[in-house]
Each structure stands twice: as C-alpha cells, then as structure tokens.
Symmetry: none
Subunit: 195 residues, 4 copies
Amino acid sequence: MSSSPPSRGRPRDPRSHEAIIRATAELMVEVGYAATSIGAVAARAGVGKDTIYRRWPGKPELVFEAVFTTTDDLPPPDTGTLAGDLTVLLQGLVDEFRAPAAAAALPGLLADFAADPELRARIRGDFLAPSKARLLVVFERAVLRGEIAGETPVDLVLDTLAGAVFFHIGLIGEHPDQELAALLAAVVAKGIEVR
Amino acid sequence: MSSSPPSRGRPRDPRSHEAIIRATAELMVEVGYAATSIGAVAARAGVGKDTIYRRWPGKPELVFEAVFTTTDDLPPPDTGTLAGDLTVLLQGLVDEFRAPAAAAALPGLLADFAADPELRARIRGDFLAPSKARLLVVFERAVLRGEIAGETPVDLVLDTLAGAVFFHIGLIGEHPDQELAALLAAVVAKGIEVR
Amino acid sequence: MSSSPPSRGRPRDPRSHEAIIRATAELMVEVGYAATSIGAVAARAGVGKDTIYRRWPGKPELVFEAVFTTTDDLPPPDTGTLAGDLTVLLQGLVDEFRAPAAAAALPGLLADFAADPELRARIRGDFLAPSKARLLVVFERAVLRGEIAGETPVDLVLDTLAGAVFFHIGLIGEHPDQELAALLAAVVAKGIEVR
Amino acid sequence: MSSSPPSRGRPRDPRSHEAIIRATAELMVEVGYAATSIGAVAARAGVGKDTIYRRWPGKPELVFEAVFTTTDDLPPPDTGTLAGDLTVLLQGLVDEFRAPAAAAALPGLLADFAADPELRARIRGDFLAPSKARLLVVFERAVLRGEIAGETPVDLVLDTLAGAVFFHIGLIGEHPDQELAALLAAVVAKGIEVR
DNA sequence: GTTTAATCGAGACGGTACGTCAGGTCTTCTC
DNA sequence: GAGAAGACCTGACGTACCGTCTCGATTAAAC
C-alpha cells in the first residue's frame, strides 16, 4: 500500500535509536525535563547530536516518544457499569502519570507542547487519542444501558478526567490514594448519568 | 513582630517595581513564557537586571506576581444551590485562565513550579488558596442544606475543577463555550451530592 | 614502468574524476577556498563523498589538482638577455596567479600546505618545480653569456620572484600593471648581474 | 582629543584581555593557526567565549593582535648606504616572521585576511604600514644621496621584500641563513639603483 | 556464465567547532 | 545602599563539516 521509500544510502542504525530513547528516559528521571539537554542525551547515548536531530525535531518530540512507549492497545474496559469502566480507565491514566519518567517529564513536556501551535494539536491528537477511543466505546455501552445520554461531550469529559489526574499527581505531586481512580470515576459517572 | 528592615541607603523605587511587572505581562502576551527572558524584561522596563533579581528569585516568581494580580478577595458565591455556587466559582477560574497574559504564562509557569520542590508547594499554597477558601464556604453551606456530605474532599474537588479548566483551556487551547462553567459545575455538583 | 595496478573489480569512472575537478574549480571561483567543502563539491559533481576521498586525501590536494592544470611543459624562454628571459618567466607566474580559480584558491591553499609538514615539502617539490627547471636553464645561459655568476642561488631567487608576485597579487589583490613582470624582472636581473 | 566614552557599566577587565592574548599566542605555537579554536582559547584563558567575541570579531583579528604586539616604533635605519639600510629593514622582517608564534600563524592568518575584502585592506594598512613608513625615509635619504630615482615604487618594493621573506621562511619553512637579509638587500638595492 | 571485488550515489555515523543567547553574579559610576 | 549599565563565566542551542561507515546497485575482469 504505502510504497516504502527506496531506502537509498546507509540505513539508520536501530541501536542508535534505542540508545537515545533509553538515555532520554534515564535523564528524565535523574535530572528532570528542563535540565535534560539534547547534548547530554547524545553524550550518554554515545551518539552525535545530529543523529538525534535527524530523527526528532526537538526535545519535546524526543521526550514524548521516549516516555510514552506504552502501546495503548488495551481493549476498552467492560465491567458492566459506567462507574466501573471509568475506574479502569482512570486507573490507567493514574498509572501512566505516576511512572517515574512520565511524572518527571509531564509538566515541562505539556508546557512545550502547549507553546507550539503545531505540537498543541498533538496533545489531543496523539496523547489523548488512545484514551478517547476507549472512552467512546465505554460511552456507547453506557448509552445502550441507558445510563447516559447520547450527546454526552466525550472531549470535555476526557479533558476533565485527564486534567484532574494531571493536576493532582503531575503538578501538585500528590501521592495517589488507593481509591483515587474509583472516587473520581464515581463522581464523574454520577455527574453525567441521566438520573 | 516582623522587625521592619533597618532601611539604610536609598529606598527601592516603586516605579521600577511597577515597570517590571508591566513589562513582564506585556512580554508574556507578545512572545510567551519560554521566550521571555529576565534580560528582555529588564531592557523593556528600562531597568538593570539586578533590580529584578533583588526583588524576585527567578522568572517563575516574577511571572507569577505579574500575571496573577487579581486580589481574589471576592466574597464566596451564594446563589442558594451548590450547582449555582460552583458555576460562579468555575466561571472565575475560566476567566482567570483565559486572560491573555495568564493563558500565555500558565503551562510554562506551572511546569517551572512543579519542577522545583519549594515552588511546587506554592501551587496549592498560593495559587489555589483563594479558591479553596471560597470553596470551603460553599461546601459548608451545601452541607447545611443537606446537599453534600460533611467529609467531601475539598482539595480533590478543587484539583479536579482547576485541572479540568487548565487542561481544556490552558493546554489544549479550546475556546471556552459560553456554558462551560455551568456544564462542569452541574456534572461535579451532581457527582458529589448525597442523593 | 610503474607496475600497473591489478585492476580487479570495477574500474574508476573517469567522468566522476572530471566532474569533481570541474565542480571544485567552479566553487573556488564562486565561494572561495575556505567556504568550499568536500560535501559541496560532491553534491555539485553529483558524486558521493567517498568517490572524492578515494582519489584525494583531502581538500588541499584536490584543489591543487583542480586549479593548477597547466601542464607546464613550456620551453624555457630564450630572448637573449637575462632580463628578457626573467620577464617571460615572471609573466607566466603573473598569469598563473591571476587566473580566477587560482587567485581565489592560492592563499588558503598555500596556508594548508604550509601547515602540514608533508604537504609543505610539495610547495617546492610540485608547485615550484616546473618554474625552477626553466629558471635553471635561463641561469645556465646567463652564466655562459657572463651576465651572472655560476653560484647564483636559484632557490632564493625563485622564492623571491614567486613571493613578490604572490604577495602583490594573491594576498593584497593588486591588479597587476601591464609592465609588472618587466619591472620586477629588470630589478632582479640587475640585482644579480655581476657588474 | 578623542572624547573617551562615558564608560557606563562595568569596565572590561584588562586581565581577561591579557589572558586571552597570552592563551592565543601559546596555542598558536602549540597547535597552529588552523587547529586553534575560539573555544579552546577561551578555555585556556579561563574566560567565556562571549568575552572574546565582545572584543574581537573573529579569529583573524584576535590572532593578529596576539601575535604582532611589537610596537614598531623603531627609528628608520640610517647606515649611510641604501643596501645597509635595506639590510637592517629586512633583518627586522626576518626576525618578525621567524618568531615561533608568528611563523605558526602567518600563512593561515594572511589567508583569512585575504579572503575577506575588509580585512584584505588591512594587510597593507596595518600589517605593512610601519615598515612602509621606515622604507619611505630610507628611500628619501637614498634619493638625496643620488642612489635611486625619486619615483621608485615603494609599495612594489615592499611587497617584494615582504613576499620574498614570507615565501622563503613562512611558507617553505626555510631556516634563514645568517646573511639572508644582507643578500636580499644587496640584490634589491643594486636592482633599483640608478647606475 | 558465474563468481569476485572494487566503485558508484546516497546518506547515516560520532565528533568538533561555530557564533548566539540566557542565566545569575559582579563591578563600575551616579543618585 | 539602590539603581542603570554592562562585563563576566557557564552552558545549551541548532547547524555545518569532518572523514569514516554501511547500504544496495553497477561494472568489469577472473574463473
């Protein structure tokens, strides 16, 4: 289908790619997003700076790829109730935001994304897309069960869930309570239910 | 109690203070948080860099003061219902986050605050404190009216409200709908009501 | 004579050679010696960088070959007088140093040659050798005519002639006067004549 | 006369200036002109790169000042004969070109000067000016003594003398013979004498 | 006719230097 | 002592070349 490029010249070394990603993730945990420089990543990965700039336009894109490796092909949760489904979904967000590299990277990363018009679009496009797909399925089932109305605003609910977790854990640095996900899920589920 | 400083030598010029604040707010709107440097602020304010560093430890503190001037001594809303009160409260947050200087500053500013342990504490301490005070009163009245339970977690609800608005408007840059505050308030109020 | 190489594998394409030389000479005139990079030569010649490095060790050697193509098999001048012979010889040097590509290349080229011990020897060995051969014949005839002594220091005279022309034209960029060669020749001839 | 600037702000530290000059001269001798980078000079001088760029536009100007410190206010030679005067003058050139730092710097330095139109003018303007002043006096005296004609081309003679020494010593790297200056002076003096 | 090997264009690779800019401190003179 | 000015050291930026390497594809001579 998509005609792969003729692949002229020396192909890029996948070991460089991997070393860069690993070095980035390590530095993120050790010194944080702001103190991580492309040069330091290159040095730790044993790689030239060009080798990084050849693959990523800048630090935000590199860190994004390094930190969010989780291929979110988890199936949408199906617990039988909206609150249950939201709990599973939220627990996923909590786990994602709490991972050391992600926690260290998120505030600075999102700030850089927000500052660039082109990257800003990718927050919803790339970052939230997997969650949105799962949330859509959850909502469809809830509509069929008669729990919520058909026109429930998915984007706004997702922004609220993600925003709550990000603010609570990412920014303020609160250690997440065991039932945080369940608590938030209950509130939101009850809030959007038809009755 | 606080021993007034000995006040030897030339006193600080309040006009410098004002010029710095104004220059900072202007630059925030014109070039954004990341592209605003202390040197540029000094140049525009017609001030030496030291005059800035003498008053603020760094860019985050300066910008925080420059952008959030609104002395939040508004009285807590009292519309008669929890949903009504939350709507007023949320509308305040939306307006605050939507102001040009604040919108331009917030993501980078919060990222810098989150990166520094000392500043991180000020997010809840200084940034959210006024809203929390008002929310506490709102909650007290709602408890008296029997709308919510007494042990409703104020901090978590506030994080959720602020997070939702910040993510929706600050990060993603969504133009806030006219009824955004009312919609969010309705969901959250319904979500935390006892019945 | 020279043991022909075993010549296994694909032979070198003479068209690449020619294209490289041409591209080098063009770039020399257009952007100068310092701003000419091997990569730029390769790109303009439609050739890989290795194809250049396979033939020349570096920029100095490449430029030297590209710029000094003049196969100096001119016969030694024989005008009947030392001054006349030197005039012809000097005019040759002037013409050589004044050619656009040579004028653009010479200062940087000689600097690179001077900086490398191995290349430094080639200044006298390759660069000045043809002129020296002709000057030797001119001197022999002048000795026979009794114009100069037998022990006249050829190398020093040649350095002086070349140095004068290089400094005057190559470095300072003086537009050569019509009689420059004759004038210099007259001074030097008179200076080394026995009486 | 020249109104000294009002001198606002912190004055430039003369110790930085001196340290930079010294570091440059040392590196010139140790690694040569081409291998000397501004960054290396800064590191050795214990100085930031900006401190160098604040004072000099680039490497050529810096090296020029670092290497040619000799305040050429020597009085013009006056030995009684043109050949004698030229010998003294040439010996000065030989000594200048033979100094370790100068010998290492000259070819690359002159190449960089020749490559930039603005700097090119300074070769005659700054570099040769002191020698030219002295040569003019020498010529005046020689004219009064009737040794040479009044219209002897000073610039051309100076280019020849400087070119000969530069080519012989600077480029080819010949160890200068004890009588080199006297020999060249004799040839040139004889060459331009009226009889 | 098949191996074998060097060459080709292309471009990735680890380095090094570039010249600029910001951070935060210091040092001068002036008020 | 505060203030404006600007020098100072540090360190990161993103780009450009360096000379080497690794691809797949040619192109001949050797087998």
